[in-house]
Symmetry: C2
């Protein structure tokens, strides 16, 4: 259970990674959410060793992201179907895919989301649930929430990810 300790951090990012951060797990979820439900078809598409896939599927069932269903009388006739908790992983995969499209897809996006209710490419983007406008990281801060611990409460309001100031006298040593 190498990722379990992440859950001690009192952080929802770490808590999510404690469940889905292990190698292969998010690729398994990708396939299940695209409709591949059987062990052999998931394995073929993810390119993962059978013992690792068994382990990841078992964790996802135990954690309530997948349900294991039998679709016939044969004991090996099993399907893995996402629960609500599993379908809720979709935004994580969309965000990862968007980053990959922007930074690691020299031939263009391999896959594109379509929004069936407006029948156009969805181009998913984060919006503010209050004012409904698109969110940019520079307009976000983080405050302690109801589940914050004492250290997080003491932090107060933190800005997110400012880029290095152009007039900074800092010296880049990235190539060192």
């Amino acid at each position: 259970m190498p990722y379990r300790q992440f859950a001690d951090q009192n952080c929802s990012i770490a808590a999510a990674l404690a469940v889905m951060g292990e190698r292969w797990t998010l690729l398994v979820m990708r396939e299940v959410l695209l409709g591949r439900r059987r062990f052999a078809e998931i394995r073929e598409r993810v390119g993962v060793a059978p013992n690792i896939l068994s382990d990841r599927l078992q964790t996802l069932v135990e954690q309530g992201l997948l349900e294991r269903l039998r679709y016939g009388k044969h004991p090996e006739a099993l399907e893995y179907v996402p629960t609500r908790k599993g379908v809720d992983v979709t935004p994580v995969l969309i965000a990862l895919g968007r980053w990959g499209d922007d930074h690691a897809a020299p031939l263009g996006p391999p896959r594109v989301y379509v929004h069936t209710s407006c029948n156009h490419d969805a181009q998913p983007q984060l919006h503010c649930g209050h004012c409904q406008r698109p969110l940019v990281p520079q307009e976000l801060k983080v405050r302690p929430g109801p589940g914050a611990d004492a250290a997080q409460r003491a932090e107060g309001l933190l800005p997110i990810g400012p880029l290095p100031a152009a007039d900074s006298d800092q010296i880049s040593v990235a190539s060192c």
Copy 2:
């Protein structure tokens, strides 16, 4: 480089995981994006061994997500600052945190995003970039994009993550 092979999958999710999927990497990015820039403060907050943190920071610099800056004359006076490519990881962390808030935060969210331009809690949610309405997974499909390979082009339009039908005669064996 155990994650590098993910990049062979012609999938932007796998490509993103090839860069940021290794254990600890996203927690390192969380800290850097919250303004912790020095090795010792990142290490303390992530709770990671120094050799692993060195490795992850090196990868993030090599991949262009962080820049290594010197803020004084002392050779150890280094800071890790996110680039545009690094700041673009923010939606991934937001999506992971949202899942953790919903499914693994029994005391409520430890941290809450604030949208500084409207001065309310941001409650980040995915919207359609075309019609601007909130996206739900059941209204999304996936089509082959410009970078699709032959197999992906043959797949055509795939729905995302339908929940198991209530009238299904499938038998849950999740507890087996």
